[in-house]
């Protein structure tokens, strides 16, 4: 049952990721990325990480992707212009990617052996995560708040009106 669910979510993930590459309009890419993130939340649930799954949906598929869609709408982004890639890239890139993919798959699957994840066995309860977050990782947590504060100020400064325009208006 877990394996079937895993395969379904994995198929949605890969289809969404490939669709992101294939689509020429950024809004279609954004929507397929949302599908990837939702399917990843399903994978996290299979791994017993309920908290991470919830945060994935709320923060990633919710907040971050809304920001993306908002900017796409704001800038009225049109269809992507095609540029001619070099032939060398196609000539060497495609075989290189295939070789890398096959090697990675081989190395990973060779070691699969008896190693198995007992699904749902991990206690991913928010209480335990909160204990880790506010005891063992307290300093990184606090530093993160400073990072977010700086990011907020940076975003406001960067996206705000240029000073010259403001002076003209005022």
């Amino acid at each position: 049952m877990h394996l079937i669910l895993f395969l379904i979510f994995a198929a949605v993930c890969v289809a969404g990721a490939v669709n992101l590459l294939a689509q020429r309009h950024p809004i279609n890419s954004a929507l397929s990325l949302i599908a990837v993130m939702a399917a990843l939340a399903g994978e996290y649930l299979l791994l017993g990480a309920e908290f991470v799954a919830a945060v994935q949906v709320i923060v990633y598929a919710g907040a971050i992707m809304v920001l993306f869609v908002f900017v796409i709408m704001l800038l009225n982004a049109g269809v992507e212009e095609q540029t001619k890639g070099s032939r060398v890239a196609v000539l060497f890139g495609v075989p290189g990617v295939l070789t890398g993919a096959v090697l990675t798959a081989w190395v990973l699957l060779r070691h699969s052996g008896t190693e198995a994840v007992a699904l749902g066995a991990l206690p991913g309860h928010p209480i335990e995560i909160a204990h880790l977050l506010f005891h063992d990782f307290l300093l990184p947590f606090e530093v993160t708040s400073v990072l977010i504060l700086i990011a907020i100020m940076g975003a406001v400064v960067l996206a705000g009106k240029p000073e010259a325009e403001e002076r003209k208006a005022g």
Binding site: L3, E43, Y60, H111, V117, A121
Partner: protein, 104 residues
Amino acid sequence: MFGAYVPLSYYLLLSAILFACGVVGFLIKRNIITIFMSIELMLNGVNLSFVAFAAHWHALAGQVFVFFVMVVAAAETAVGLAIIIAVYRTRETLNVDQVNLLKL
């Protein structure tokens, strides 16, 4: 029972596929917003291996790392999209090929 367990390598393989798709998108896409979304895809791929390893080693710290990655990704998205807006305001384009003032 059939399929009660999913090997760790399957999760790592999916994570690698997602990361590779992100890298490919980063390289072949020309729209700056889509490039940015490819970066998010890479971060998601890494997050999946974090959670898979956390489940495999029964170490909850992996999930806390994912939490931090998400926080940093959110901050990065806010600043990055602000930069994209600033670029669009000055250059009137989202095509990275036309943002080439620093090129020799």
